[in-house]
Subunit: 248 residues, 4 copies
């Protein structure tokens, strides 16, 4: 557990160390659970200033430590950068924080089984209760509609605005040929949703292969299940954190 | 092997420490074998009092230790709770123990490959001899029939009674959109069945994808195989326990 | 590497310790590579006496050590048993050694992806050069033909003779609803074949799902590839052994 | 991290130790990420002499250390061999270096999910942006066209020339019934491509099973994404290296 502890962060003084610790843990957890590969990023809104957010410098999520955390404004300019750089796609974070005041944490991933659903037409609807937040299936961001022929990265403010628009009021948006972005009221719940989106995608792909009809979680049942599951993240969080920080 | 040893349990004094050790080991084994995720729970009937059962407080199975084990009556009221709480779905356990005197251990899981079979119509019949206990395929608990639109959790006594009724005389009941519950005469055999239900589900999904016809274990063959396998759990238990307790 | 070393074996004095070490390593390797689960067994013919073979007592392959190795004659009677017992299915070994003088090592497994191929009609032909030994696809042992309704175990001499007959001159026989048995001229090559049978099964299942036509390794090409691969086991053996013995 | 450090290499004196370290790390990374099994090999062109390349002696990639690195000329004769031997298929490397001056690193693998695509007709086109280098799908080397009935190994200069010809100007060539060869301007980028070819194959197989139509990365979009991704390997390299060298 030697690498995962927050300790003091020298670049964002004054932030609650528990929040830094959670942000580091979320990076490590999502890497350990194979939702994040060597890319992907996690941010939290600064509780002291809703017009700023915290995000790591450009390093693989599995390697993030407290001292890698930087701060950015909602135009995604780094504060006191002093030569340090962060992820080029951080506009995903800034532009969503601008239009979704309920969002306090954002995860951008190449979640492996979300990619196949991003390039096909089968809606990623929930079959597992833990994934009820998927509702009627997430919107899919087709970057060609927003930017024509691109390198598929959301590395400008207009593309960030476009993905925020596609996301709308949802908790997740699939990104065609790329992955997904999950948003939540706090980083522990966003982590829970990001993990169970991947789990549900694997199980739905299996159900499709077994053969339909498939019973989805729908209607009032979906609403009740989603509401209840939104309070259930603490128990697995403790396990995921133990697994992620003990491992390396 | 530092975390898995039973030692003294302070909350359920007088219980055979071997039973506590088995209950803790079953939690760790089923988490290590990926049958249990951060949720799920395992119980054993109290050998001193058939109207009580032992179950962990609300903690992820991978983290359960001897001192987490509490006792409940068959209405699932905790004994000497003193502010501690257990799983909200413990009614699954109490209500099954009420009507199945042969059952001395119960496992509730989100076993990953049982979920796709719970939402499709393909019967989960055995193709692997170790899973012969699946018989003609497990009953499926459709909570809509018992409770209409719910949050999918079995968190009341009536829902517990309903799942006990769907289970009937079987050793496993699939729960639509949720997972499964496995029951057995002791916790080592229930663990064996829970693991091989998942293995058989994975292998059957592959057989379906390869293409039929599929030869199932059926009739007198199923009966003979099931009877024999019900005595075969000790050998893998020793390996699973070593793997689970050595790992963390 | 503390558990895997052969050291002295007290029950089979005088056997070359390198052979004991290889037999223990094969058990551990096949468990570590997930070809063997908590069941399965590995044997070698005694180089000092072709009418005897060495096999572990009844313990999970992952836990086998040098002192677990016992000796049996070809009727599968244990020599100097003194109350120790071995696997009930050891007749697979004895009866094959009787009729196949070229065979000096036998592996019986529940290899996970061989089970789906054992219950369907798609022939497990080679698509990967390492698995060229699969030839035109292995014979499949249908125990119903040999024993009617059974518990699926090969626990008598007549059933052992029947599987030896189905095996014929092949290097592998699938066992319906059960797994497979692989035979070879030495335990390192048999281990190589057992691992690549599983790998080829996984890859063939994927190729079937991608959609045909599929190009198999056939004819003269199969013969040349098989002959060459039969000399290629040393390089992966060293890696598998390091992985298996370092792990626990 | 005890085994992975380069230190001094006694057989290829004078080579930049950072290059040796990268070559060893690439071997370990590709084994750890399951792109390489016990076979496969990685080479780099000698920066001091473009007519020579560095490659390990005949050992499993997971076990390669700095002192295993040997040197060969482009006819794949070992320099100062002194009885040491390297991989029989090293002609893949020498013959490609001859005709592709832009190539400074080559990886030959049995990448598990590339094999099914090598024996079917479905083109391995990119659906994940990280794999945009796959372009319109890699050429497939059918050794029957070059050598008739063979043992499937590229163990002669003419077969090496034939695979170099099939590769053409691409970055990857699938090898029917065998695996793939990936080439790049440096070993870190070639490693990145080899890993994401496998990831894309897994995801494309899932997309095919979910059911089409599938949106591929094509045209100008493919070109832009490929160009950008070719600069993105440093971040995951650091993680992969940490994971691979810490593990053993």
């Amino acid at each position: 557990m030697r690498c995962g502890r927050a300790g003091a962060n020298q670049f964002v003084p004054g932030v609650d160390p528990v929040l830094i610790d959670d942000l580091v843990a979320a990076n490590r957890i999502l890497a350990n659970e194979k939702v994040l590969d060597g890319f992907g990023h996690v941010s939290v809104r600064d509780p002291r200033n809703p017009n700023r957010y915290l995000i790591s410098r450009s390093v693989a999520p599995a390697l993030v430590t407290a001292n890698d955390i930087l701060e950015a404004d909602l135009d995604s300019n780094l504060i006191d950068a002093k030569g340090r750089s962060s992820y080029k796609e951080r506009f995903i974070h800034g532009e969503i924080y601008k239009v979704r005041p309920d969002v306090h944490a954002i995860i951008h991933s190449h979640s492996p089984t979300l990619v196949p659903f991003s390039v096909t037409k089968y809606p990623l609807k929930p079959i597992l209760h833990n994934a009820a937040f998927l509702g009627a299936g997430p919107p899919v961001f087709e970057i060609r509609n927003a930017g024509g022929a691109t390198n598929l990265l959301v590395e400008t403010a207009p593309l960030g605005k476009a993905i925020a628009q596609t996301l709308g009021k949802a908790q997740i948006v699939l990104m065609r040929g790329h992955g997904a972005t999950v948003v939540g009221p706090n980083v522990r719940l966003a982590t829970f949703w990001a993990i169970y989106a991947e789990v549900n995608a694997r199980q739905l792909a299996q159900a499709i292969a077994i053969g339909g009809p498939i019973t989805f979680i729908e209607g009032e049942e979906q609403k009740l299940t989603h509401e209840n599951m939104a309070t259930a993240y603490e128990r697995p969080w403790q396990m995921w954190k133990r697994d992620a920080l003990q491992q390396k």
